[in-house]
């Protein structure tokens, strides 16, 4: 167990006692169970379903790679449940002997092996798979919590309460429309809440900016806010949202929707990248700044970009040493890297070392091998919109070189029909642009709903926005607007994915964490079977079919397949996601339909 006293900042909420088996642990009422366990030195909180690999959390999302954990008398995701006094947690971390013995054979391809084609062997295998797959036994959960079904009517629903969503909410409500803002976190603010550095291009300090917006919107009478509530996708009849904490299922009935769900850090693909102690960039900031929990003593931050530098700098300020790595050359970025820590460019391969959590890191760069001490790793090489909600809507996605998969929308920020988009969710970098997009999406939605004065304001804002895009060199955005008007998407080359840090398809570099699928599995599908469309790779391997439904693996799989097959990522494509975009218990549905 690690030293539990390394709290960077102060912990949030009331001090409570949680119980891990019989151990009494310190927790805080405003932090998720997963964070409390980590701060108490319990980095391994689960095992993967097939290979029983040790698992910690990567992001603090409802769809994280963690398996469900027994919390109280239910199986829940420890990332989305907050600590309560007296809460009981049970971890089952042992690995059956048979699995230890067979796991070397259980790659993503085991279903197709010749050996198992024998009917009797296969029968035996099926029994064993059923017995040993690491899944919770639902029959042991006896109690059922009541969930309210609540219908919410409004003019505009805004999904995501970060800078873009807050700006949109303010703008829409000001125009007199009934507005509902939904956010999955305890508090509004998104990245502003936990990324403590000031926002480039905005003269106001971050804290003041956040406070200003929050206090402005709290005065608005026609704005309702739902926090701790996850938007769960658009069914054909209604979009819905779900709050595990509040035990409420919301049926949304609005005339327009604005998606402002921000970006996520796509996991990097390197050897043992599924070990506990590997986090997304925003998660590390959340840990240190919101929950006052240090991820470790010395970390490796992957990526040379705006976000990774902000992470590195904040860790440094807290006295945590970091080394920055990327496969691009360090000269390419205009930042004094040396002030942050060691940095390595041209990195070809990364390998996390450690049996149950990250202890050391090996890197191959410039033809050399180095071993660094690091007890945690931050993946911040590639921010991307969460493609699932967008895919679920069947809105057109396009791959743009150097940017990634982004949704196609016009300059009015309209995605399709009555659905608008703003901020990181549209792939746009820079907070200042997010605010502009928040305003434009809100004005466009209002105009669509018949608010006349929104029209001239929209055009004005779009002019300003386009100017800013030029000023900040975000030229690809205007290409997206052209796509929305039907311009054909030209050819793109298949480059090395920014998240890829392996020299060859390794069997210990994971692409899909839910189903334990590795780079080797993907490469065999591409080379041996010849499947290069993501829809087919998905059907053959099961990527994007686990509980994260592609949140963490879809973009990586598409880019890796494209890289291996030399096919344009737009031809590989993404796979269709389906509602609900976050898992919801059946008991929540029984409460009420539309009757």
């Amino acid at each position: 167990m690690d030293d539990p006293s390394h709290h960077a900042q102060s912990r949030k909420g009331d001090r409570v006692n949680i119980f891990l088996d019989d151990l009494n642990l310190e927790g805080y009422s405003l932090e998720p169970v997963a964070v409390a366990l980590y701060s108490n030195g319990f980095k391994v909180i689960g095992r993967s379903k097939k290979l029983y690999r040790p698992r910690g959390f990567y992001s603090l999302e409802p769809e994280d790679r963690l398996l469900l954990t027994r919390i109280g008398d239910e199986y829940l995701n420890p990332c989305e449940v907050y600590c309560r006094d007296g809460q009981k947690i049970e971890l089952s971390l042992s690995t059956p002997f048979l699995v230890k013995f067979f796991s070397p054979f259980l790659n993503g391809y085991f279903q197709h092996r010749r050996l198992l084609r024998n009917r009797f062997l296969w029968r035996l295998a099926v029994d064993k798979i059923r017995q040993f797959a690491n899944h919770p036994d639902i029959r042991t959960v006896k109690t059922v919590k009541a969930v309210k079904t609540i219908q919410l009517e409004s003019d505009v629903v805004i999904i995501g309460g970060g800078l873009a969503g807050l700006t949109a909410a303010y703008t829409v409500s000001q125009l007199g429309l009934r507005t509902l803002l939904i956010d999955k976190s305890l508090q509004l603010g998104g990245r502003l809440r936990y990324d403590y550095l000031d926002v480039p291009g905005i003269s106001m300090p971050r804290e003041q900016l956040l406070e200003n917006i929050i206090s402005r919107i709290s005065l608005l009478k026609n704005l309702s806010i739902l926090t701790k509530t996850v938007f769960a996708g658009f069914f054909e009849d209604y979009p819905i949202a779900y709050s595990q904490e509040e035990r409420s299922l919301y049926i949304l009935k609005a005339k327009a929707y604005i998606i402002a769900t921000g970006q996520i850090d796509i996991p990097c693909v390197f050897r043992n990248n599924d070990l506990p102690g590997i986090f997304s960039g925003s998660t590390v900031l959340e840990m240190v700044n919101m929950y006052g929990v240090k991820p470790g003593e010395r970390g490796l931050v992957i990526g040379f970009n705006q976000n990774s530098l902000r992470v590195a700098e904040q860790l440094k300020q807290l006295g945590i040493n970091v080394a920055l790595v990327d496969y691009s050359e360090p000269e390419k970025i205009q930042y004094s890297l040396s002030s942050i820590g060691e940095c390595f460019g041209n990195v070809e391969e990364i390998e996390a070392l450690g049996k149950t959590c990250v202890k050391n890191v090996k890197i191959v760069h410039d033809g050399r091998r180095d071993e660094l001490k690091a007890d945690f790793i931050v993946c911040s090489a590639f921010p991307s919109p969460d493609v699932r909600i967008l895919n679920q809507l069947n809105s057109k996605m396009v791959f743009i070189d150097g940017v990634g998969f982004v949704p196609v929308h016009d300059e009015y920020m309209r995605l399709k029909d009555n659905i608008f988009i703003a901020g990181g969710a549209s792939g746009t970098p820079y907070s200042i642009l997010h605010m502009k997009e928040g305003e434009i999406s809100a004005l466009s939605a209002a105009y669509m709903l018949g608010v006349k004065e929104a029209e001239s304001a929209t055009d004005e804002k779009i002019r300003e926005y386009k100017e800013k895009l030029r000023e900040m060199n975000v030229g690809w955005k205007s290409v997206v607007f052209e796509f929305s008007r039907g311009k054909p998407i030209g050819d793109h080359v298949s480059n090395r994915p920014p998240t890829l840090f392996i020299e060859k398809p390794r069997k210990d570099a994971f692409i899909c964490f839910c189903e334990d699928i590795t780079a080797e599995d993907v490469s065999r599908t591409v080379y041996e079977k010849g499947y290069v469309l993501l829809e087919l790779v998905k059907r053959s391997l099961g990527v994007c079919t686990g509980r994260c439904q592609g949140r963490l693996c879809m973009v990586n799989t598409a880019l890796y397949v494209s890289y291996l097959s030399k096919l344009d990522p737009n031809r590989v494509g993404l796979s269709r996601a389906r509602a609900p975009t976050t898992p919801i218990p059946l008991y929540a549905f029984i409460g009420g339909g539309d009757e």
């Binding site: 379903k49 469900l68 239910e74 199986y75 279903q111 197709h112 092996r113 198992l116 084609r117 296969w122 099926v126 798979i129 059923r130 017995q131 797959a133 899944h135 919770p136 036994d137 639902i138 029959r139 959960v141 059922v144 069914f235 054909e236 009849d237 209604y238 819905i240 049926i251 079977k529 469309l533 829809e535 087919l536 059907r539 053959s540 099961g542 079919t545 509980r547 439904q549 389906r578 509602a579 609900p580 898992p583 919801i584 218990p585 059946l586 008991y587 549905f589 029984i590 009420g592 339909g593 539309d594």
Partner: protein, 378 residues
């Protein structure tokens, strides 16, 4: 001879492979999206030999045998598992019908077992059997892996030289002198001698272009899937009261659907919240422990319903020469397709109509020789 198969679902794949092993002519398969885009990978992936109509039972029985045999040659494991089907019967009439049918099934060697409520509780302690009068268990029925079966056929067919044209929709059929002449595809005109339409729910569009109408229509069906849980539901459980069914996949996910009314036609393949609510209510009433299962995904596909709920294969002699169909599977096509491919290939290449195929010809509608099938699940 140049044969074009339209549609890359299980039906088209099975036909193409069966034609290819007979080693005659050049076989092309056209698929508008990617192989398996249609209903074939949106199904419940189950098979059964228990149908009301003897023709269907016989057909399914042979079909599954074919698939099991072929499975050993496929480079994908089709994961065939005989977990059985369990019908929960709530009304006397249902029991009578099952008893009646069981006589026919016994004749075919696939009789099932009747269970009284006590036995249901004993064998399946998780089922709430309070209102169940009796249950019928068909141990010969089971599940397969729909993706892998399709991929298995695909690899086999490719190896035998079938030419696949993926991302290539067929727009029209060109007829000359009462004979099929060409296919108009997205990649241009293709000369052909024989056309097999196995485009699932989309087949009518192509048929209607050349003035052929058969009593079929697509109906959207939705499915629910939960996160994976420790395995405990072996059979597919059908609640004849609510029309809901539920099973568990090898991966541990709980999968199910129910008879949910929708407007027929090629409506968008979206799913409804209201559908999930109804399924959740029906299934948690039947298996209360499922209340805590969390829904992970839903999806939709089409049942291509024919007026007698049985598939259509072969040709009508009045049609242009060289035109064949294999569609209208009415929600149980995956299990029928292995045999459909075999019999149709024989029919196309020899002109003979195999005995098992005879009841399923498209001419049965105008001759009023309908198959009495009522047992459609979901």
């Amino acid at each position: 001879m140049k044969i074009a198969v339209v549609g890359g679902g299980i039906s088209g794949l099975s036909i193409a492979w069966n034609l290819a092993i007979r080693n005659e002519g050049e076989i092309h398969l056209f698929e508008k999206n990617w192989i398996t885009y249609g209903s074939s990978t949106r199904s419940g992936a189950r098979f059964r030999v228990h149908f009301w109509a003897e023709e269907n039972s016989r057909f399914a029985l042979e079909s599954i045998r074919r698939l099991e045999k072929l499975a050993r040659r496929m480079d994908w494991n089709p994961i065939i598992h005989r977990g059985g089907y369990l019908w929960l019967l709530l009304h006397e009439q249902h029991i009578d019908r099952f008893r009646e049918a069981n006589k026919m099934w016994s004749k075919l060697g696939v009789q099932g077992v009747f269970l009284d409520p006590g036995m249901v509780k004993e064998r399946y302690p998780y089922i709430n059997a309070d209102d169940v009068l009796e249950a019928f268990f068909g141990p010969q029925d089971g599940s397969l892996h729909h993706d892998y079966v399709c991929f298995g056929y695909y690899s086999l067919a490719k190896k035998l030289g079938v030419i696949f044209h993926e991302l290539t929709p067929v727009h029209n059929i060109i007829i000359e002198n009462k004979k099929v002449k060409q296919l108009k595809t997205a990649k241009g005109l293709v000369d052909v001698d024989v056309i097999v339409l196995s485009a699932g729910a989309w087949t009518n569009e192509l048929l209607e272009n050349i003035g052929i109408r058969l009593p079929t229509e697509p109906v959207r069906k939705e499915m629910c899937l939960t996160e994976p849980y420790h395995y405990f539901i072996d059979p597919l459980i059908i609640d004849t009261g609510s029309g809901a069914f539920v099973g568990q996949t090898l991966k541990g996910e709980i999968l199910g659907s129910l008879d949910y009314p929708t407007t027929p036609g090629l409506i968008q393949l979206e799913t409804k919240f209201d559908f999930v609510v109804r399924w959740a209510r029906a299934i948690t009433k039947r298996i209360p422990v499922l209340k805590n299962a969390r829904i992970m995904r839903t999806w939709a596909g089409y049942y291509m319903m024919s007026s007698d709920c049985s598939h259509i294969m072969g040709r009508d002699p009045e049609w242009p020469e060289g035109l064949y169909v294999a569609y209208g599977y009415s929600g149980h096509g995956f299990m029928m397709a292995p045999l459909v491919g075999e019999l149709l290939a024989e029919n196309i290449l020899t002109g003979k109509i195999p005995e098992l195929m005879k009841p399923f010809l498209p001419t049965r509608f105008k001759e009023n020789k309908l198959i009495q099938e009522k047992m459609v699940i979901g």
